[in-house]
Symmetry: D2
């Protein structure tokens, strides 16, 4: 039951799926081929198919109605992402408020999130539609940047919110608060605030711990901290994390899932907490999170 968290009162994947959205990695011809093959398969099962507008140019016109992620959120029962973890991260942030479950097909290289190989795609999607599946809810992060008392930016992240330095290899300085309590002042390259999902991404490279998806916690992982005892801290997922930039002169940025960025100023306050919505991932019932870890981290090999 590991990796499966039940939250009472939350909607789970519908039993009668009618419409499926296909979301491909933009500008990837390989994705195109799989989209077509999968779309045709789904139609043989009597399902309606939509395609995400950003990748619609990959397939012939008229293959399926093209919609934005926002529209997909409102109208489909299941989304299939064909791409890498990055493609799924982007889709998940948009679909979370609509409780659309997401399946991930990887384009050739196993991902932590896109865990179905293209070769096995039709079989696995078939079984998932037949009800043979695991459903997993992953917590999403919500972040706000406050400047002089006003919210100047807000964003969601499934993996991580990163406060980091600019291009010059020069430290930034900030204070960390958890639940309003002062933790410490850090000088360094920055800090990763990671969800359990993000704990195997950037946070891991910055020496953070691996957190199982079912751990209700966030990890605060300092990046190359000047103080050597500045170590990763795991806090309850109910915590509000607050990063306060100290110095008006420094060049710093906040980045969401490594995909969008916002430029910070001195005295800016970045708040990160668990978002109201979650991301619902659908996996083949045979999927093992530990097996993915073993493959991705090379644990299985004996040198």
């Amino acid at each position: 039951m590991l990796g499966y968290t039940h939250f009472s009162g939350k909607r789970h994947m519908k039993n009668n799926i009618r419409t499926v959205a296909l979301i491909g990695k933009p500008r990837d011809p390989l994705a195109a081929e799989h989209i077509v093959r999968l779309g045709e398969y789904l139609r043989t099962r009597g399902l309606a198919v939509a395609i995400e507008a950003g990748c619609a140019a990959l397939v012939r016109e008229g293959f399926a109605p093209a919609h934005t992620l926002a529209a997909i959120g409102q109208h489909v029962d299941l989304a299939v992402v064909i791409g890498g973890d990055g493609t799924l991260l982007n889709a998940a942030r948009h679909l979370a408020p609509h409780d659309v479950p997401i399946v991930g097909i990887n384009l050739g290289r196993l991902g932590f999130l896109v865990d179905i190989a293209p070769d096995a795609m039709l079989d696995e999607i078939g079984r998932i539609l037949d009800g043979d599946r695991q459903i997993e809810r992953r917590l999403l992060l919500a972040a706000e940047v406050m400047r002089k008392g006003k919210i100047v930016h807000s964003a969601r992240a499934l993996n991580d919110v990163v406060v980091g330095k600019g291009e010059l290899a020069r430290m930034i300085e900030f204070d960390t608060f958890i639940g309003g309590e002062f933790v410490n002042r850090t000088r360094g390259d920055g800090i990763v605030i990671a969800s359990p999902t993000g704990s195997t991404a950037y946070a891991l490279s910055a020496s953070g711990p691996i957190m199982l998806p079912s751990v209700p916690a966030l990890a605060l992982v300092p990046i190359c901290p000047h103080t050597l005892s500045d170590r990763p801290i795991v806090v309850p997922s109910t915590s509000t994390v607050e990063i306060v930039m100290t110095d008006a002169q420094q060049v710093a940025y906040v980045t969401f899932d490594g995909q969008s960025t916002f430029s910070l100023q001195g005295q800016d306050r970045i708040y990160v907490r668990r978002a109201e919505h979650e991301v619902e991932l659908v996996h083949p019932s045979s999927r093992s999170h530990f097996e993915v870890l073993r493959i991705k981290l090379g644990w299985g090999e004996s040198h």
Copy 2:
């Protein structure tokens, strides 16, 4: 509210404390002095005082009735430990089944668990008795060693259960399972299974994350693993962790809170899970876990 976890249905510290046990660091004359001073103070407040048998020889005969930790567990309303974190760890393992709350006085050096300075002792204990206090429940670990289908050893730990090599600097090998699922095979010096309380002890030296006491999780921290991608894993506190020794030849031991040890054989299986009971710590209401971290880890200093 950080660091304070409420568990419904669990008993909290009584309001009418009548009997207090004093538990000193054995053979430490400094502890003796504080025991006497504290015992006299408690009597002026009309409370009955008991002393733990292991440190009774430190004070004059007849100072207070001496009891074992087991008897203390059954008869007292509050235990005051005067010593280091080690003294409190030992008392806590024994008192947990009896739900006796514990306060810690440190002998000169702030501990993570013994957080009241001797100078402030009478004032702080007075305030705590007056109801001005924080109560915190810390999860305890329960471990069992299975050999050929039988339990050959069982023990509790507040900080950590450590499976480690013997004196020769030669690796041991074991498999890890979480919730019955295979995680990986590790070769190295061993592994620390730490509670949040233990996350700032040995696990931290072995590169594990700091976990706030209120995070419902355990950390599995490999010690000097041969495979460099073998990294700390944080799992839900509801998990059963299973370590299986692979090789019949290796010399390995399991240690509880760094205080007691048991010799392992090949194919032994060590099970670690959250114990049924918890440890109830009492702190001054002004105590900040982050302040303790700042002092203990030297975060406050700017070199």
Copy 3:
């Protein structure tokens, strides 16, 4: 004899010092005060005093002739830096070709390079002028950026040459060669190529080893590498290190001593090797490198 390296055939500090340059931290009034005090003292010893042009505005006009670092290099026998390690790094890069020995006075906080406290300044400088001193030669790094077969940038660094990502928290990718041999391909935040002097600066925060100044080696320290087995590598100081950017799209920079930066393009090749010149540091004879480490890293404290 640790920390002292004798290189036969190299010029050492002159015995008859006649002219001393004072180099202060720009725009720091505290530096001004010490410059004046020190300048007056040196004149009482019959020495000529010059002031570095960048900090000349701090003191009254006519206090001393102002010169650029280049001119100082050619005309003085000793340079005294009053500031932080950053001020000394900058001076050292400019003065190294001229073999001018450098003494460092710290402004309030001990540095790895500026190790004389202002309070003890006149005494210590006096003793150094009397011949009671340690002289230490530190290797300097020389870097060149090659683009389509041409050198497009070159710079020196006393601490480190850092190839790093831009402001977005997204990995860069590069290949490393040592002595022309391929080492590996790295994805991550970047890499620090550190001298022994720089091993206690950024490289240390990125998990590199401390190297004693007398070790004839460079350290290659990957910054948050994606591959967890990508670890710091120590190579002979005679090695040529070559970093080759792989991807034409990525945003990356090379930074020298954290003080100047140059924007990289895909396929750029960065060469780092030991510079022809070295930096000659002068310390009080009582100075202990290990004592500086103990203070700066908090080794002396027992929490």
Copy 4:
């Protein structure tokens, strides 16, 4: 030229090899098969063959004269080790004083030291005998334990000298001196003093840097130190490292190459320095140290 160090005045591998010793992993039938095959091949080349006494029982009586490692050191021109890195470490410590060059054949799994695959064995040994080879000199460590002014134990190590705790997961405490100068006091599981050769063994698991074999340095790598700023230190290979046990009560051991161990007492002083002799390794001329690193550390794989 990396990985190749020339020391003037040192003897190199003879051009006219007449006698070759075969040293197999004791009690390994797989080694037996390769020993026989290799012995027969060497005789076809007109060479005399000897076998190490510890593995002589593996082959038929009369196959070749059996000698101790000491005798082998005095009488042969080349030693071929068939086993793992451990087999070669043991042979190297014994043969170093006799300047016998060593080639390593691995039994199935590439080692850092035994780098010829059994399949390629006859070809590679043939080429080496023909003069197509790399010769590399590796520094050896010499250690002495002083107790109350007397040497109570001495040993050599090619990889590392490790001072470590006993079986109980409880810290030991010791002071480190380099060149007679106090470095710091450490509490933890122990310390690895590693040669460049040993930097990819235990020291790497304890977070030490990889040092190329040609770096004239030693690494001091603390094992799970209590003080988080206690980091690996790289010192010149000419340094004398001294570890002084502080506490009379602690249980500690010193281990050499993970193969032999000696029990320490309080106030014992362990001296480690570069041995007078070196180990001469012979490799195929095509061997690349970086390729071995890539394979052993999984650098080549992209997950």
